[in-house]
């Protein structure tokens, strides 16, 4: 069951993938030929090998891969939380990696939102909802006066389908998993980010809550047509309703990329075919 690592090697596409021919100016975040390995020389484990990834304005990229495919490492690298061994990451044309790029990294942080798998983990248990959601508004240039912050928190909560009156003052322990995840999404989008990254946002929730989170993402994208989004998941079925493009990662190598409908209709790698099979009802 733990597929042997090199079996699919012959199928790997060249890393110059076609993303549907979008103009360069619409690229928000781009990683080119990213490699990363862990461990010392003797037992070195290559987690990512020459991966290309591109998040575009107004589009949602579905990053698909099983456990151990390196998708979380890739996310940490493109967000500047970890540095790659090889390759380059650009946010709006600015290079991120390296010590001299703190400015670019800070700009990326100001303009990106994160949603994690564990809905309660991304909220401080000692903070009421309004404070968690307001936190990104209290830094840097985004800082504003109190009434403006409150208004934007209320807007953000409303946009994820939570009544601000009812939920502003609640604490994470008083929320269900689905509600907590929606608060986390409100928090991630409150400062109007250019990029939203969601790492397995639904796998800790039950199906009914999952469906509601899908709707939440859909309405967030309707509210903010400029938003670039990366949705990480191990389940094709979950991402297909929102993702415009797909990137299938397996053992740190890109198996397939392209427009979601094309990939689903005519998968070219055997791994993608197995994913599609597993996700069919």
């Amino acid at each position: 069951m733990n597929d042997s690592r090199h079996e699919g090697a012959g199928e790997v596409r060249p890393p110059t993938a076609d993303f549907g021919g979008c103009a360069d100016s619409s690229v928000v975040l781009e990683g080119v030929s990213i490699s990363k390995g862990y461990g010392s020389r003797g037992s070195r484990r290559q987690v990512l090998s020459r991966v290309d990834i591109r998040a575009m304005r107004g589009r949602c990229l579905g990053l698909i891969g099983g456990s151990g495919s390196g998708k979380s490492t890739l996310m940490r690298i493109v967000l500047g939380l970890e540095s790659p061994d090889g390759g380059v990451v650009r946010f709006r044309g600015e290079v991120l990696a390296g010590r001299s790029c703190d400015g670019a990294r800070r700009r990326l942080r100001m303009q990106s939102g994160l949603v994690f798998q564990n809905p309660h983990g991304s909220l401080d248990p000692r903070w009421p909802v309004w404070r968690s959601v307001a936190e990104p508004l209290t830094v840097g240039a985004a800082r504003g006066d109190r009434s403006r912050i409150v208004r934007r928190v209320e807007e953000a909560l409303a946009s994820v389908g939570l009544d601000p009156e009812e939920f502003m003052g609640r604490y994470p322990c008083e929320l269900s998993g689905g509600q907590a995840q929606r608060v986390a999404i409100a928090r991630a989008t409150v400062n109007d980010p250019a990029l939203l990254v969601a790492d397995e946002p639904m796998s800790a929730l039950d199906v009914v809550a999952r469906e509601r989170i899908m709707d939440t993402f859909a309405s967030i994208r309707a509210h903010r047509p400029e938003l670039a989004m990366i949705l990480i998941s191990h389940d094709l079925g979950i991402v297909r309703t929102i993702a415009d493009d797909l990137l299938v990662l397996h053992h740190g190598e890109v198996q397939e990329t392209g427009v979601a409908a094309d990939v689903l209709d005519a998968p070219r790698s055997p791994y993608t075919r197995r994913l599609i099979e597993a996700a069919s009802l």
């Binding site: 967000l79 939380l81 800070r106 942080r109 100001m110 990106s112 939102g113 994160l114 994690f116 564990n118 983990g121 991304s122 909220l123 401080d124 248990p125 000692r126 009421p128 309004w130 404070r131 968690s132 936190e135 990104p136 209290t138 830094v139 840097g140 109190r146 409150v150 502003m168 003052g169 609640r170 604490y171 322990c173 008083e174 986390a184 928090r187 991630a188 400062n191």
Partner: protein, 293 residues
């Protein structure tokens, strides 16, 4: 802020143990304030004809070996012990928080060095620390405060570190960092609040232990100097005669026991009361505060 303090105290008061500890602690503060202006007998008054006397109208708790009034000495001593406890708690809190902050720092250098330093220093017993401090300072209140603050501050840092690390590595800290919140602000708003409940317990234990340490160090002759009233002083003067006058040691022993117990119970109550995850009343208050803003 004031609202929060009132709610915390009210939550403590709601439980019987909490009422006991709050009553004892308030009484303690009140007595120390009164003792600054008035004691039943001036503490310098000695009555050579009535040494080791048992309770009487003139000396409700009897007299000690010098014929001084035990009640007056205990009242006067409560002020010195309050001073020691407050100073120890304040200084060990400052030291502990500073060390915890260093130990969870993102800089590998700072965190690993501070962990090693804390582990090395914590192996020195408080008594030895006090003996070292007593060399330049002589027998004084400062010896007790300095030795206890260092010892308990180190202990606090070690006990609180896991909690702080848990918060520091949590996803809410990652998302705060990812939205551009600076390290120091994350420390102040996410990490340090997470160790407040632990601090409440540890500091109240330290408060109790510092009273015991004062007694012990005074007994050894390096704590509160002779002539200055303190509970430890009262205890050590009477403890050597406990075989002859068993009741003489009873009163200072009893006072110390009750106050130390109250401090420990108070710490336990406080831990539950200051944590909004555990205390729903606090949540309701912050809710209202949120609405107002």
């Amino acid at each position: 802020m004031m609202d929060g303090v009132m709610i915390v105290l009210r939550s403590v008061w709601r439980r019987a143990e909490g009422r006991f500890s709050l009553t004892v602690l308030c009484l303690w503060v009140a007595v120390s304030v009164v003792s600054l202006f008035w004691t039943p007998q001036p503490i310098t008054n000695t009555d050579g004809y009535h040494v080791w006397a048992s309770g009487s109208l003139r000396h409700p708790l009897g007299t000690d070996g010098a014929g001084a009034d035990v009640l007056s000495w205990l009242m006067a001593g409560s002020y010195v012990d309050l001073l020691i406890v407050v100073a120890t708690v304040a200084f060990s809190a400052i030291l502990g928080v500073a060390l915890v902050s260093a130990m969870v720092a993102r800089s590998v250098m700072l965190s690993s060095v501070s962990v090693v330093v804390v582990d090395a220093l914590i192996s020195i017993p408080t008594v030895v620390l006090a003996l070292i401090v007593a060399v330049p300072l002589g027998a004084s209140i400062a010896v007790v405060i300095v030795a206890c603050s260092i010892g308990y501050g180190l202990n606090l840092a070690r006990v609180a570190r896991p909690q702080a690390l848990l918060a520091a590595r949590s996803e809410y800290v990652v998302s705060a960092a990812a939205s551009g919140v600076t390290g120091l602000r994350i420390l102040a708003t996410h990490i340090l609040p997470a160790i407040v409940p632990t601090m409440a317990v540890q500091l109240s234990l330290s408060a109790g232990t510092s009273i015991l340490a004062e007694s012990g160090l005074t007994y050894l002759g390096i704590g509160v100097p002779s002539g200055v009233p303190s509970w430890g002083h009262s205890l050590s003067t009477s403890a050597s005669f406990v075989n002859v006058y068993p009741f003489a040691a009873l009163w200072p022993g009893l006072v110390i026991t009750v106050v130390v117990t109250a401090l420990n119970v108070f710490g336990d109550m406080l831990r539950d009361a200051v944590d909004p995850v555990v205390n729903p009343r606090l949540r309701r208050d912050r809710t209202r505060a949120g609405r107002r803003s």
